[in-house]
């Protein structure tokens, strides 16, 4: 070889970066293709820290980057690379980087690396212990060592500082197929870190026979636990939703979260969302084309009875998609994307009585070009819509109640 080993390593990285650059396209109109920024990157995902500093993770040219903003997204710090060696990274469908912060200033990022093969991947994680100036080496969280599907990571950090990562995993499906056994769907696994991301537990099975192409919703439950909701394959090929609580040692028995009666062998690419601000029930929102429910729905899942209440059709139009729900200051907010009159719209409804009654739908943002899913985030004072669009870049917009009175 004409290069010594360290140079070879960096040359290899450079080659991957160049190849990724060659095959990447300038998908966002208001930015220059070569500029690394939250506007030009893909699937930016944001969170506020305790001091209302906005932290955003995004993907561009084979790297996950983070940047922060002290003025609600008007200006950002210079992006910092999370992975040092370029990767193929999932940013399509329901996959996007996740960013969480500890109360003592650590930054945690998870994402799904695209590995060779069809719908294959590894769950990647990296942390920064110096306030986001640099990141430690990337850890692969799935521990089976198999070149199969581990995708759709979901991450949360509990008030006690435990980091949960859950994902969809193909190991049980692969094992069954090797034995020529029929295995509908794939599985849900998780791992926990109790040392601020320095290490993670062995992978733990939550459920077999999950749907394989929808994001998992995750939310903290109390000080130490997390709740996850995902699309599950029930008997008869019905793809409705299930819910379970993850604890540091094991997951609790799964419950059926929704009964939509969607019998299908198609891929919805449309995962749910969950908010656990209320101690007695979870706010759920989801999509279905079942015999019982079609479109975007809201309901409250009661933890004691394991049943739903206040089931409501939010938007039954076929263009309605990707809802997000968040309780903030005793108001439940729900946003989703739709398409009307040649524009993509973000619509919002809110409830001031824990989901019993809801406002009419209000349009709070629009664009004429391509756009990402809408996300709700909050600092101590306000709730915001975070929406990345081709024409406008990443926008952070306060979500407020319109003047119209709440519907009876």
């Amino acid at each position: 070889m004409f290069l010594n080993k360290p140079a070879s390593h960096s040359a290899q990285g450079l080659i991957i970066a160049l190849v990724l650059f060659c095959f990447s396209s300038a998908s966002f109109g208001r930015c220059e293709q070569t500029k690394i920024s939250v506007d030009c990157g893909k699937t930016p995902t944001s969170v506020f820290d305790q001091n209302s500093l906005l932290w955003t993770a995004f993907v561009q040219q084979g790297f996950v980057y983070i940047a922060h903003s002290a003025d609600l997204g008007k200006h950002y710090s210079s992006p910092v690379k999370v992975n040092q060696i370029p990767q193929k990274i999932y940013t399509n469908g329901e996959n996007r980087p996740k960013i969480k912060l500890s109360t003592n200033g650590l930054v945690f990022v998870s994402w799904t690396e695209k590995t060779p093969g069809r719908y294959t991947g590894d769950i990647s994680f990296a942390r920064s212990t110096n306030g986001g100036k640099s990141f430690e080496s990337v850890k692969t969280i799935n521990d089976d060592g198999l070149p199969i599907g581990h995708r759709f990571d979901a991450m949360t950090i509990t008030p006690s500082g435990l980091i949960y990562i859950a994902w969809l995993d193909k190991r049980d499906s692969t094992a069954a197929k090797k034995k020529n056994l029929l295995y509908p769907g794939i599985s849900v696994y998780y791992a926990v870190s109790n040392d601020q991301g320095q290490s993670f537990t062995a992978n733990k099975l939550v459920a077999e026979h999950s749907c394989e192409c929808c994001r998992i919703a995750i939310a903290n439950q109390g000080e130490n636990n997390a709740t996850i909701m995902w699309r599950q394959l029930f008997s008869g090929g019905v793809r409705d939703h299930a819910i379970s609580t993850l604890t540091p040692s094991h997951s609790l028995a799964i419950s059926r979260a929704t009964t939509d009666d969607w019998q299908t062998n198609s891929c919805p690419h449309h995962g749910p969302d969950i908010d656990n601000s209320n101690p007695n029930f979870s706010h759920l929102t989801w999509f279905s084309i079942g015999n019982l429910h079609k479109g975007i729905y809201y309901a409250a899942f009661q933890h004691d009875s394991k049943t739903l209440k206040n089931i409501l059709s939010i938007d039954s139009s076929p263009q309605a998609s990707h809802p997000n729900v968040m309780q903030f200051n005793n108001t439940v907010w729900l946003v989703w994307k739709t398409y009307e009159n040649d524009q993509s719209l973000i619509k919002m409804r809110y409830s001031t009585d824990h989901g019993e009654h809801w406002s009419a739908a209000n349009t709070i943002a629009s664009t004429t070009g391509k756009s990402d899913h809408p996300l709700l985030i909050s600092n101590k004072q306000h709730i915001f819509l975070s929406w990345h669009t081709a024409n406008e870049g990443l926008r952070l917009m306060p979500v407020t109640k319109p003047f119209a009175a709440i519907a009876p």
Binding site: I15, V19, N265, C267, I289, P318, T338, Y339
Partner: protein, 157 residues
Amino acid sequence: MRKLILCCLFICQISLAETPALQQWQADSLTEVLKNHPQQPFLLVFWSLECPACYQELAALNRWQKKYPASQLILVATDSLDLQKEVFEVITAYQLNQAELWVFSDQPNAKLRKNIDPTWFGELPRSYFYNSQHQISPHSGQLTDQQLSQWQAYISK
């Protein structure tokens, strides 16, 4: 090192040049397709790289096309334009290159979907059987060999 980078850029250029241009599906592409297939029955299939059920359907379509190469098949990938190369690799792997090949353009996915079928929620695979009068029979989910045989029998009458 410099040679290596130049070589890499050259490979990039070759690879891009060799990636066949799939037709870009625009908001009015269905009108164009209907115009190009007057009084012809055809099967219009929407699929994605990210849809496991779609691969099983591509395998079934491959078997059908091998048996009935004259039957019209139009394949539209709903993936983003920067995945054209991967889309073409899958089409090639399933030996479906003879089909009419499209990929969604940079227009909003919901806009394209609404112009194809305002009742389609976006689930994949999604298929439309167009008879010679261009009457439509839509189907969500994976097509089976049996469904394709039934379609073949129908259009062969």
